[in-house]
């Protein structure tokens, strides 16, 4: 499905979604509260069939956090990017690890690196960082580590 058709389809599914122009793929800005039902629709709708979550990450914009989900369909070969703006002080979003199993690990990574809480995640623990790093989020822009970080 081409970007234009995708756009129409998605507007039908979620009228509140806004679109960003200019990217290689269709960028969809959504409200975090809509994410879980919307994700289920994206996965289960036979025209969309986004079964492959190939990238899940977060960006710290200093004022807010943005969750970025890159989705692809192995049958229709189309891609979209979903973005959800989160509050920086209390970032919370529903987990999608039961829809796309790969989200389990990726969400744990985002949890420890950015401190985003994934609601209803089955096993939200530190994955990469050692014990004692809860609450310290190294990939946030204001993270300081005077010993290990070298400023160029």
């Amino acid at each position: 499905m081409l970007n234009e058709a995708l756009k129409n389809k998605i507007t039908g599914l979620l009228p509140t979604a806004t679109f960003e122009e200019g990217g290689e793929w269709l960028n969809i800005q959504i409200d975090p509260k809509d994410w879980l039902p919307f994700a289920q629709q994206l996965r289960n709708d036979s025209d969309l069939n986004f079964d492959y979550l190939f990238c899940l990450t977060c960006i710290d914009w200093k004022t807010h956090l943005t969750m970025v989900y890159h989705l692809s369909s192995t049958t229709h070969r189309h891609n979209i990017v979903i973005k959800a703006k989160l509050d920086r002080d209390k970032p919370e979003i529903e987990t999608v690890s039961h829809i796309w199993r790969t989200a389990d690990f990726h969400e744990r990574e985002v949890y420890e690196m950015f401190g985003v809480h994934f609601l209803n995640h089955p096993d939200l623990r530190l994955l990469i960082l050692p014990d004692g790093w809860e609450g310290k989020n190294p990939l946030r822009k204001d993270f300081e580590d005077p010993i290990n970080m070298i400023k160029l």
Partner: protein, 371 residues
Amino acid sequence: MFEEVGTTTEGDIIINVGPQHPATHGVLHLVITLNGETIKKVEPHLGFIHRSIEKMCESLTYRQFIYVTSRMDYLSSHINNHACALCVEKGLQVEVPPRAQVIRVLMDELTRIASHELWWGAMAMDLGAFTPFFHAFRERESINDIMEETCGARLTMNYMVPGGVMQDLHPDFQKRVKEFLQLYKRKIHEYDELVTGNIIFQNRMKGIGYLSPEDAVSYGCSGPAARGSGVSCDIRKVYPYEIYDKLEFDEVLETAGDSFARYMIRLREMQQSIRIIEQLIDNIPDGDFQAKTKAVLKLPKGEFYQRVETARGELGVYIVSEGGTTPYRIKFRSPGFSNLSVLDHIARGSKLGDLVAMMGTLDLVIPDIDR
């Protein structure tokens, strides 16, 4: 992290495989719950070689950060560099000269063969056969020699720059690659005779670690791990980059979904890489090896994503630019990270010895997982 020792309340043994263990080929730590020899649960603990490359790249310029990525998946460092170079070029909208494109693809495919050679030897060693490791290194050495001549390094080559490659090919390059192709064709039958055809090996691999196509996609598996289940996901075919759409090669697919299918995929993929090299080695166009770029690169404000196929699967480079000389945020979607997440799913219910074989077929490179 280390409190999970001893036994569980049901009397199952919990053992720690790694961070120092011969089978993990690096510093991977798996906490395994065992009932006798049968695996009940595998829980990976990562981070022993986590260097936060994503954070490091945020303070490096677009010319510098490429070389840090050689240290992610060190067995396909060319391809990592290639992905980053492509992503930066996408932002700069630079046209790469045809000679550089061909050189890049040649290097990628040589790297892929070298990586699969190493995997083949290490995989056989996981199963207790030591000899294949040395036979694999015989061919891999000649690829490393070719790399050393042209790039000046044998493992982390750092050959790609935004806009092309760093320097021109060594004058002997074509001759050496042809010699390698001959050597490879003369020796490839040994691989089948020594390992693939071995009855013990086949019994250890067939029907073990079954991964269904649905699960492969859901767990985000890519590369040979997913293609072994029949999921067509070769980025070179599906979303072609560079000159892959003009080349003749097949996407290797197996449908069995077991360890043996994943093993066969890699062996057959080496043949396809040989095919690509044969098409290109006599047709390297003349011209520049590098496009003219500014000394200081600045990407326009925006987001750029590049997917490439490394030897392990799909590598994604996601650059968020604010218009400066350094990336605002960079994310590497590493193939190993997703492939590792499926290990628990496929290992449950099988024997401890098979876990090692499954880890072998997933071809885990730990720096690639931890980044």
